[in-house]
């Protein structure tokens, strides 16, 4: 078996074995690791491949969560349809947000996403008849093939399967014509456009795909949480996503997974710091950009190059 496949196999085996011996809270934490890791994948595509930045991913996350909750509770459709609906709604809005900022270079998209997330949060808060507004919205537990999953133990495996599916899609996307074009655009927009790669089309695809992933994650999160309120989807959430993706590593699926672990476990580890916690996250983010721009996953490559081996991912 080639080493890359062996590594993936081992990682999946470890992930599958993790919940054993843990309690209900442990299941919940592991489930949120998977949910965050999906957002990590989405930022992988947007920032790592596309070179675009979003500080409004909580907006897409919220759209996915509310869309799924509404589809499941108001229309009575099954859980998986709700999750898909969450992804599609978020994806459509992703394309819409990218649309106006296409004609200019620079950081306009980032600013637009910041405003967008705020707009979504406000909209969900004000539109009471549909979203429950201030009171929030109750979401049923996830159910598969007619049976409701009461424990997060079973749900974790569903999430793991969906994460692996999305990771596989992201991996193939990176190797596809579209993915490679996107990376060419990131390195030099002018050079890539001269080679006949249309920038607008690819930026929209990157944004829509990324928003779709985030929407799916949001929908799954809604069913894990059981109750939605707009406060969950604040700017702080967007910034946590961004720092998680950067600290995990923006250029690989493994990085997204490490980011998920970081975001879910850091509050547990840093709990005793109370108010200073968020300051520590900020400092970690800055240190990471300065000293480890490849994220935690690049430690593997650093070690391998010390040993005189090629970095993972090169044939």
């Amino acid at each position: 078996m080639p080493p890359r496949k062996l590594v993936i196999f081992l990682v999946v085996a470890v992930l599958a074995a993790l919940p054993f011996g843990l309690g209900n809270y442990g299941y919940y934490i592991l489930a949120s690791v998977m949910i965050y890791a999906m957002v990590g994948l989405s930022l992988n595509i947007l920032i790592g491949m596309g070179g675009q930045i979003s500080i409004g991913h909580a907006g897409f996350w919220a759209l996915g969560a509310y869309a799924s909750a509404i589809v499941v509770t108001k229309a009575g459709l099954p859980f998986l349809v709700g999750v898909l609906a969450g992804g599609v709604v978020a994806g459509l809005f992703g394309a819409l947000v990218a649309l106006p900022a296409l004609r200019v270079q620079g950081h306009y998209l980032a600013i637009a996403t910041l405003g967008f997330a705020l707009f979504v949060q406000q909209m969900l808060f004000e539109w009471e008849s549909f979203t429950g507004g201030r009171q929030g919205l109750f979401v049923p537990r996830p159910s598969l093939f007619g049976t409701e999953m009461q424990s997060d133990f079973g749900y974790y495996y569903v999430l793991l399967a969906i994460f692996l599916l999305l990771a596989w899609i992201a991996h193939n996307f990176a190797k596809s014509h579209t993915g490679r074009s996107l990376m060419a655009l990131r390195m030099s927009a002018v050079a890539a456009e001269c080679c006949g790669i249309p920038r607008p089309k690819h930026v929209i695809i990157a944004f829509a795909t990324s928003a779709f992933f985030t929407g799916v994650s949001g929908a799954l999160f809604a069913h894990l949480l059981g109750h939605l309120s707009t406060e969950t989807f604040s700017l702080a959430a967007s910034l946590s996503f961004l720092s998680m993706a950067v600290i995990g590593g923006l250029h690989s699926r493994g990085g997204a997974l490490l980011g998920g672990f970081y975001l879910a476990l850091a509050p547990e580890v840093l709990r005793e710091f109370k108010d200073a916690q968020m300051v520590i996250y900020g400092v970690l983010l800055i240190l990471c950009v300065q000293f480890l721009p490849g994220g935690l996953i690049s430690i593997v490559d650093v070690v391998r190059s010390r040993l005189g081996r090629k970095p993972l991912g090169t044939p």
């Binding site: 920032i47 070179g51 930045i53 500080i55 106006p100 900022a101 004609r103 200019v104 270079q105 620079g106 950081h107 306009y108 980032a110 600013i111 637009a112 910041l114 405003g115 967008f116 705020l118 707009f119 406000q122 004000e126 030099s188 002018v190 050079a191 700017l235 910034l239 961004l242 720092s243 950067v246 108010d275 200073a276 916690q277 968020m278 300051v279 996250y281 900020g282 400092v283 970690l284 983010l285 800055i286 950009v289 300065q290 721009p293």
Partner: protein, 289 residues
Amino acid sequence: MIPQLVVSGLALGSIYALLALSLVLINKATDVVNFAQGEMAMVGTFVCFTLLARTGLPLVIILVLAVPIGGLIGIVTERVTMRPLQSAPPINSLIATIGLWMVFHHGAGWIWGYDPVRFPSLFSPNPVNILGARVAENSLGIVGVSFLVVAVLYVFFEYTRAGIAMRAASMNRRAAQLMGVNIGRVSLTAWGLATAISVVSGLLVAPLTFLDFDIMFAVLLKAFAGAILGGFNSLVGAVVGCLVIGVIENLFAAYISASFKDTFAFAIIIAVLMVRPQGLFTRQIAKKV
């Protein structure tokens, strides 16, 4: 009713304008959009607040001291976080400013607490009569201070060596460097100057509401909108854009919807990018390869 709304809108707009000037200054000099600018202003304002509470100095002195305080915050931040990223891809600097946002935002809550505090105002809210319109003294004072800052900035850019060096660096970094402009110092000056200006804007906005760690977020969003309206590369454009935003915001809140008055900035950003992406005041510049 409308003249009052317009004048208080101009006052609001000139607060946004100061923050927008900081954003544009840093963007021009170093190609970084500093998302933490509002939070740095907020921290500077809190430092001024502590100074005021501890020493009891008159408010005017505090307003003057805000400039070196802000400058120091900016310079230290540039040295510690931005300088090491000078040769990294620009997106890394952008991410670092988001880290700065977290540090300053939550650091302020950690140090000064999460409860809003009252910040005294330099100017009284009593109305004065100008051409038949009753205008709050407060609004006139805010516009006056902002105008002063802009005037000083104009003199700096037109008549001082450091200012001219900054203009040169923002036009063509490499050429400026070959002419002996110290790019590192330009970046340092930009951060110091920008943060000083933004702390002044913090001091002006704090008395209007209460001072707390969340105060500058809405201001930042509108400063972005104003700066984009002005083209993000033009200092004059940013000022005019923000004044327009301030007036529209006031009219919007009074006649259409008060609860959406913070999100309308987003609508303006989208509209500008759709209709005239280069802003009202700059010509589109083709990027050289």
